[in-house]
């Protein structure tokens, strides 16, 4: 796929012109129009909302040109029967399948406006479909490189794992440093009954990027989903995530790694929605914050009324590597059920223990090397849970730009 210079401003006329440009069927035009209306009736956050108090949107570059042609995307060639392609191609080649899953549900409530906007105005994205009982060996890797910094790009990623299927997917997005741009990535992961999904999202946007993402993860009966969001780039990141445990016996792991420096602002809000019996959802977000970087985390665990024997945990730990760095982890537990196995949380923010630093230094490591080793060890709590070697290596390489690398023997 090639990129042209065609671009437009995101306004009410844009939707029709996107459909014209992509020569879309009527059902999709109607779907876009419906979501555009939703975007207009669900106003943008005012900053009064609990999830938006820490990330003002005044400087969000709304006037940028909408990237009409999807940017360059490199993707693994999938095995037969499995679909892995950009969303526009999927609409042309597999319209009935896409229609079954695209734009059929609301995203995280905090991001209702942005979710609707993305569903209405997407010009690129990813469609990954794994049919029933198909196991995809190895790792699917999709890498998107934005051509310019100062554009608006709102892609939709849709991952559907049918009953009993299994897939591991790494999605990377990269953009150049430079003037302010708006990246609004929407992700929906659907794991049907008994499916197993490993989804990693590696964000390496340029230093002017506003990353306003919304993710919806639906975990069906006995399904098992691990998501990993690694936030490395951007100027501002505000990702809202909704993990819905809708089928009995489902399991989710919600992992996050953040390495931020300079004046980066990273703000994550999550909902772990335990809506079915015997579901398990464990969240672990780790941040290493340098310079004047700031990370906020607002995590809600909602154990629904009438559910039985659910188990959930959320933990957010922040390592402050500069006196000017800051973190604000806020866990919220909303327990409406009586019969629960476990529902807990942990939140920390602090500097490296000076005793640990001294210990490492007395072994000959200079302060920087000791610090790098300690940060790398800190991240290991999540890294050790990444079973897939390709994903682990790509993420460690991306993180090394910020935290530095220490060679690893084990």
């Amino acid at each position: 796929m090639t990129t042209t210079a065609t671009a437009m401003t995101l306004d009410s006329t844009a939707i029709g012109r996107i459909s014209d440009q992509l020569d879309e069927p009527n059902w999709l035009r109607d779907l876009r129009t419906g979501w555009w209306e939703r975007a207009e009736t669900a106003p943008p956050p005012t900053g009064q909302e609990e999830e938006w108090r820490r990330t003002p949107l005044d400087a969000l570059p709304r006037g940028g040109e909408l990237l009409l042609d999807a940017p360059e995307m490199e993707a693994t060639v999938p095995p037969p029967g499995v679909i892995l392609t950009d969303l526009a191609t999927a609409v042309r080649e597999h319209p009935d399948l896409v229609r079954r899953f695209l734009g059929i549900a609301d995203g995280p409530a905090s991001h209702a406006h942005f979710w609707a906007l993305g569903q209405a105005a997407w010009t690129g994205g990813l469609f990954c479909y794994v049919p029933r009982n198909v196991t995809v060996d190895g790792t699917l890797v999709v890498r998107t490189v934005l051509p310019r910094a100062d554009v608006t790009y709102l892609p939709v990623t849709l991952i559907v794992a049918e009953e009993g299927s299994s897939v591991t997917l790494l999605e990377e997005v990269v953009s150049p440093d430079g003037p302010a741009g708006w990246f609004g990535g929407i992700v929906e992961v659907r794991a049907e009954r008994g499916a197993r999904v490993r989804y990693a999202n590696l964000q390496q946007l340029g230093d002017g990027a506003w990353n306003i993402g919304a993710q919806r993860v639906v975990v069906g009966q006995d399904a098992n989903v691990t998501t990993l969001n690694a936030e490395v780039g951007s100027k501002v990141t505000k990702v809202g995530m909704d993990v819905k445990m809708i089928g009995a016996g489902g399991t989710s792991k919600v992992l996050g790694l953040l390495a931020a420096g300079d004046d980066q602002q990273i703000d994550i809000n999550t909902v772990q929605d335990l809506a079915a019996d015997h579901t398990t959802s464990d969240l672990l977000y780790l941040s290493a914050l340098y310079d004047r970087a700031h990370a906020s985390f607002y995590g809600v665990t909602n154990v629904r009324h009438g559910t039985r024997q659910t188990s959930s945990y959320q933990e957010c730990r922040n390592l402050l590597l500069s006196p000017q760095a800051g973190a604000e982890p806020i866990p919220v537990l909303e327990i409406e059920a009586n019969d629960i196995l476990r529902c807990g949380h942990g939140a920390t923010a602090g500097a490296i223990d000076p005793t640990m630093l001294f210990y490492a230094q007395t072994r000959g490591l200079d302060r920087d090397a000791a610090e790098r080793m300690i940060v790398r060890g800190f991240f290991e709590q999540v890294v050790a849970q990444i079973a897939d070697e390709t994903i682990r290596e790509r993420i460690l390489t991306a993180l090394a730009d910020r935290i530095g690398s220490t060679e690893d023997v084990s």
Binding site: D353, P354, T355, M356, F358, Y359, A360, Q361, T362, R363, G364, L365, D366, R367, D368, A369, A370, R372, M373, I374, R376, G377, F378, F379, E380, Q381, V383, A384, T397, A400, D401, G404, S405, T406, E407, D408, V409, S410
Partner: protein, 286 residues
């Protein structure tokens, strides 16, 4: 002869509190010295000051190692702890820190390279630079050899540094680090504390196996029992921040029999008001 650690008139304070008050001691390579003293006498403070702990300020006196002034450095603290380590000094901690997520093998290789290939360690932050430390296979061989020497379970290598380690395991990992780094001068801070008799014997065997004729040792201990296994040539008694008595191995037995009050009487010091007070020894926090 410059292969010696010379401590002269050393005064050290932490915050407002004076801990060491004019300490003199010389340890040459090849010698084993024991430094004994009650709690609060300043034993750990001496160990920390020797390695350049940022909380332990040297107010007066001199510290030289192999003719180099350890108090000469970029900050008021003098030479950084890592530079002291690269010059061959080693401290076995009384309370070693855990480093979560860093395996023993990874840690050992990093510290080996930091001490023996310092250039490579300095550059390791640059991902573009090829790593030039000890080859992996060669390091593995070295580590396994030292673990065998110390009779350690190979599974040790894959555990995270000191995390969830028993007291004995922590002390053995200190000995393993010493064996891998093979320092010229080792300061062992209460390496016997918290060990039962079997663990003590095991750790002492490790020390003896690691000792070489070129190595100097300053063994800091509260009790005499460690000295049954690792024989010192010199024994010193630390009271009120100074060495008040020195002798041969027999002094440790006299101490064991008579206690520190006997030393006070011998040297004419007032009753040990400070003997019970604990030195401010930072304990690893997690």
């Amino acid at each position: 002869m410059t292969d010696e650690l010379v401590i002269s008139g050393l005064q050290v304070s932490i915050g407002e509190k004076k801990i060491l008050n004019g300490l003199d001691l010389t340890v040459r390579q090849g010698e084993v010295h024991a430094l004994m003293g009650p709690n609060g006498s300043g034993k750990t403070s001496l160990a920390y000051a020797l390695m350049g702990h940022p909380d332990y300020l040297v107010d007066a006196g001199t510290l030289t190692w192999r003719g180099q002034n350890l108090l000469d450095g970029p900050t008021r603290l003098g030479m950084s702890p890592d530079k002291r380590a690269r010059m061959g000094l080693f401290l076995a901690f009384q309370y070693p820190s855990a480093i979560p997520g860093v395996t023993v093998a990874s840690f050992l290789r990093n510290i080996y390279n930091a001490v023996h290939h310092p250039k490579a360690a300095d550059e390791s932050g640059e991902t573009s630079i090829k790593y030039t430390g000890i080859p992996l296979a060669k390091f593995r061989k070295l580590m396994e050899e030292k673990m065998t020497l110390l009779r350690m379970d190979p599974a040790f290598a894959t555990r995270y540094v000191n995390e969830g380690f028993s007291g004995g395991e922590k002390k053995r990992l200190e000995m393993l680090q010493m064996a891998v780094l093979s320092p010229a001068m080792a300061i062992l801070d209460e390496t016997d504390s918290g060990l039962d008799i079997d663990a003590l014997k095991n750790v002492a065997d490790g020390i003896n196996a690691t000792l070489s004729p070129e190595m100097g040792v300053l063994m800091i201990t509260h009790y005499q029992r460690m000295l049954n296994y690792v024989k010192p040539q010199f024994v010193h008694v630390l009271l009120d921040g100074r060495i008040v008595m020195s002798g041969g191995e027999e002094l440790s037995h006299q101490l064991e029999a008579n206690g520190y009050d006997w030393v006070r009487e011998q040297v004419g010091l007032p009753e040990g008001v400070g003997d019970e007070a604990s030195a401010p020894e930072p304990v690893a926090q997690h």
